[in-house]
Symmetry: C5
Subunit: 322 residues, 5 copies
């Protein structure tokens, strides 16, 4: 499904074009800036795009076969950008949605097979910023990418909160199940990292080069996206560090608990075996065992057993084994 938003720079008005055939008309007018949004593209849509804007077969290929790494590639006359929109699903489950962006001098083409929340949002902001709208396609591109990158941050805060909980589960009331959750977060941070870090690196080289497409003024905006990417990447790395330490701590706490169980076992075994020994002694069949004939032998034996058990119990209590 192709939907196009056209800005006439001379009149500062936005028009919504739903008929794909009209794109080429607007494309030719220098006063127009086009945002062509292609949702769930068919093979014909791709051919259409290639014909209309003259995209290189390789960038079309990359768009067609999804699961590209996030990147910014320079083609003659346009940039091809792959970026991932992230959303946290229930249960700290991360969903990454791929978005291909073709950024030319007077057009912005966004291609995605899944719905991308931030496109709507960015288009609204673009309409709203009419005063700034003289700018070239750099502005809507910035608005879109910034919205996507800014979405990462609250997600990392969620991870951070979840980790605090897991920390409590490790240190305060140990729950063996915490491990799987820690592991899951670790894994998702790895995936998230892969969606962010390559983009950061590419933006870095992009901002240091001479730019034919972006004006110096737009560059400040892109610098801002880059800055947010660094922040996200730094946060991911910090979280990874914390997750790693939590996992290590888990191992140690788990070891401590084994130790604790061992101490319990030793204490209990010592007490019961000692008392049983007393019973065993008076269970011997020697003919001459004076205690057996005493009036209070039995009750004495029971009392001595209780005393021994209590003494041992208190001792183990004292050394904190029980």
């Amino acid at each position: 499904m192709i939907s196009t938003l056209v800005l006439d720079r001379s009149t500062k008005t936005f028009t919504h074009v739903s008929n794909p055939d009209l794109i080429s008309d607007h494309c030719g007018r220098p006063s127009d800036i086009l945002w062509v949004d292609v949702t769930d593209p068919t093979s014909e849509d791709f051919d259409e795009l290639a014909r209309e804007f003259g995209f290189h077969p390789l960038s079309i290929e990359d768009c067609r076969h999804e699961h590209q790494r996030p990147k910014v590639e320079e083609y003659p006359g346009y940039y091809f950008i792959v970026i991932y929109e992230a959303e946290m699903q229930a249960g700290c489950q991360l969903e990454l949605r791929e978005l291909g962006i073709f950024l030319g001098v007077n057009y912005l083409v966004t291609v995605h097979s899944q719905p991308i929340r931030n496109i709507e949002k960015a288009q609204q902001t673009w309409r709203y910023w009419t005063d700034l709208a003289e700018r070239k396609t750099g502005l809507p591109a910035y608005l879109l990418m910034d919205a996507i990158v800014d979405d990462y941050m609250p997600m990392l805060d969620d991870f951070s909160d979840r980790l605090e909980e897991l920390e409590a589960q490790v240190f305060e009331n140990f729950q063996p199940e915490a491990l799987h959750d820690i592991f899951r977060i670790k894994k998702q941070l790895i995936f998230l990292r892969r969606a962010v870090v390559p983009l950061r690196d590419v933006f870095n080289t992009l901002l240091r080069r001479e730019q034919p497409v972006f004006s110096r003024e737009t560059m400040i905006y892109f610098q801002d996206v880059y800055d947010h990417l660094i922040r996200v990447a730094d946060s991911i790395d910090s979280l990874r560090d914390i997750v790693g330490s939590t996992m290590e701590a888990y191992l140690s706490v788990s070891g401590n608990r084994t130790n604790f169980v061992m101490k319990r076992l030793t204490s209990i075994a010592t007490i019961l075996m000692t008392v049983t020994l007393v019973a065993g002694i008076y269970g011997m069949n020697f003919n001459f065992m004076p205690e057996l004939r005493w009036r209070y032998g039995y009750i004495g034996a029971l009392i001595s057993m209780a005393v021994i058990a209590l003494a041992l119990y208190l001792y183990f209590r004292k050394i904190k084994w029980l």
Copy 2:
């Protein structure tokens, strides 16, 4: 065995030349592009190649003694490339097959001792792309290397799936044998990394230099191979991270299970020893033990044993030790 495919650029026709002696004829014609494929080369084949194309002895040596690292080396008049084709054998076992590529202005020589699947595939694609076939040797070289690199990706998906299974084996129903599988995957990722990362690094420097052999147009294709190499390398690194975490998690889960066994042992020992103690007490031989004479002493003892055992059992159940 030497087999040659010749493209006559003026007529856009492909000829298959099986007689090695004719290579020199075609080699001299500027309108011809040759793809010389040498399978399981003999010492004479190497001499032939050296004589025909004037390859430097060192590159011939590298080709002769296999087990080179993947690389792209610049020699006067041609490039010497070593790349590895990977295939997943049964049981997540990785097979790497070495391929040497000599890439000159109008020839492409591929040398390999094992059969390389992707050569056939790349030659077919080359024939098919007749419209694009004006291009120099960069195109078939791209088609070959791209096919090889694209083969890595599904393999990594296999590893990824296998790791998901192993994750379940670690967290859901712990199986000690999982460790060996985790270790094997780790090892194979190390080998795969060694086949990919040096190539990525060399492509990186290659693409940043002034190129005498490749035209700017071809460079976009090589950029694409490079891009895929980065993606593969990124995936390998993510998988390595996950494998490492899985191994760590395995250790923790294994520790937890020891803990669990310890708790069981403690619970069982406590119950049995306590009950045995009761039996021991009534096994004492004191003359005066009133309970022994009671009518229901025995049955009472048995019942009290059962009650004690049950109480302890319920207690250990409650604290989840049993």
Copy 3:
């Protein structure tokens, strides 16, 4: 709340201006240097700043939405710096307070929502250094940032001391609780690192570039801030190394203690079971058991039990299991 300190360079006098409306007057006079300090800024304050000094909307945005990463950004005519003041709270708890600095040719604007101790301190030092006060805004900026960075160092010494204590708790008298403290320090070092390292990196690139705002003379001062940042970052890394090793050591010591408990259990069980066995033997009901009829059989059995127990005890003592 906006409070302004003005230095008239011609007369070397400092004036305190509390009425925000007068800022623009001073701002226009070339002989004046302004330090505008904005505490807990309202939305109007931000608008005021943007209007007065012509700050770029993006830098205003960054200031408004806190939790930026520490950075130095170059905008036309001024630098925007984000830095964190750190303070150690009770219990090795780290508090980081964000501070935004706009540094222009003749003004220095500091914006913060929480009170920043070092602003007062830096302003006092600035007043004091009247002889040096011909310098541009680089001096007060240096004084402020240097004071903030120098605050990190004693904090790291606190961490270091705390770690020494924890080391003793791990190696000398093992305390399982130490783990949580080690983990907390590790986490806070991660946070502290995030506040320092990005700043260090930015200063690094800043000092290597051509500077339009800072004079060469001021640069030596900034070099000094950079130098202190490196030192802090190096110390953080060393501490992280030590924390990591302490955590590892904790795990090992904890393992050793399990070993120790196991040895105890084995020793005690061996002794008690052996002695109980003796009692069990003389508890057998064979008709012909000569020892049972001996005069000193019972006392002999008790003595032999004691001897066996003592012998085993001494043996386990000797091999250091008890």
Copy 4:
């Protein structure tokens, strides 16, 4: 002991000069290339070298005090290279032998206190390559260094084979002693790495610089040495990775085995304690215990004991604890 091999480039003949006094004669003749090999040098030998070739005191010092790091240093008129020949002794024990090389326009001086196998070998190859012998000193230097570097590779294969064995010892039939061997290999890889990596780094910078001594043609040879150094370094890093994983796996397997022993203990203790409890019950002295008077009471008790033991045994078998 000084031994010199002289190549007269005009006549392509090799002469062996054993009298050190004649070195200066040959050194002056432009058609001659000298290879001066100094074995186990005395203090006079060093003075002789310094006088004859005008070596800088620092390079002489480095040569005199061995245990230098591998390096390539540029001095006016010559290069000073330190490289290590490695040999695998019995028992995977690594021996590193230091070799100092002075490489000038028409001389090559090798200094070593221990015999270096590859010097002999390189000299023979040099004699053999008479056709190529017009080249400057770059050729013999290449032959020597290449021979040394190529020696590393089979050694790494040995390590790799040894690691495979150790892997089997860890996973298939666990042998606690494997740990020490793993550790030893790890340590030797650290030492080997130290002998290779600095050299690789220096070669890297060397090959990127403008070279006054080596001709462009020779550079291809040095590129080859560099390439082999990278390969060796890559292999070392892979092996280190594998060693590290093997060590981790060892820890996990060792933990699993503790778990296995614990399960055994629990199973055995449960069975024996339960059966003992039955015996204990019939050892009680209650007057009224009908079973005691039964004709088949005893045999019944024994059978019930056996049945209980068998049932428990089968149960533990089923859950794989025995």
Copy 5:
């Protein structure tokens, strides 16, 4: 305490000046090179230095407040270097002593609060090298720094030897106390690294820049210091690797020992419980137990106990659990 050594380059004579007031006289004479050594400086000494040589307040500050990171800073007209002299105290305890060096065209000022062994040594070598003494201040600076850096190496050998011992303590006769020593060495290597690595990095940038103070000839000497710094840093990194592996190995060996104790416990418990069971069986009170009436029942029971115990003992011996 200020003590000055003056070299008159015209007469090649050294004079010792103890009166600080004469420094300015010598300082003005172009033929003189001064080495001003300030031990345990007072506040007046710093003022004196600042006045005499015109040092920048920041470098004076750095010198006054010790605990700087090792560094080389360029100030107008001189370099300010901070370096650490290391000495191994008893018990592998490392002592680091800070030394500040001001290096100008014709003066060298060394400032330290603790006595620095190598100053004396370097001054003696300087006097001795009278022939080379035409050189500028680079020579004594080299001699001093080289002496300090060379001191690190034997220290690392000490660490290495100590680690070998600890390795034996871990693998041959396990001593739990070894852990604390391993940890201590690890910590000291971290400190030593911090004293060496920043210096190496600064020397690296220093040697790559255009140098106004050092002549090209002196640079070769500084290259040598740099080279030694790399060697020291490499050795530290190798040792850190080994220490880390030793710690890991410790953990594994410790785990193995727990396993060993567990096996012992299981074996002993099995033997004793089995034998006790036999005793328990014959302790039952059944009326009809034929064995009890046998003549050799008792002795038979004892023998069967011994046989069972021996059989089990041999079995556990065989599987190496005892």
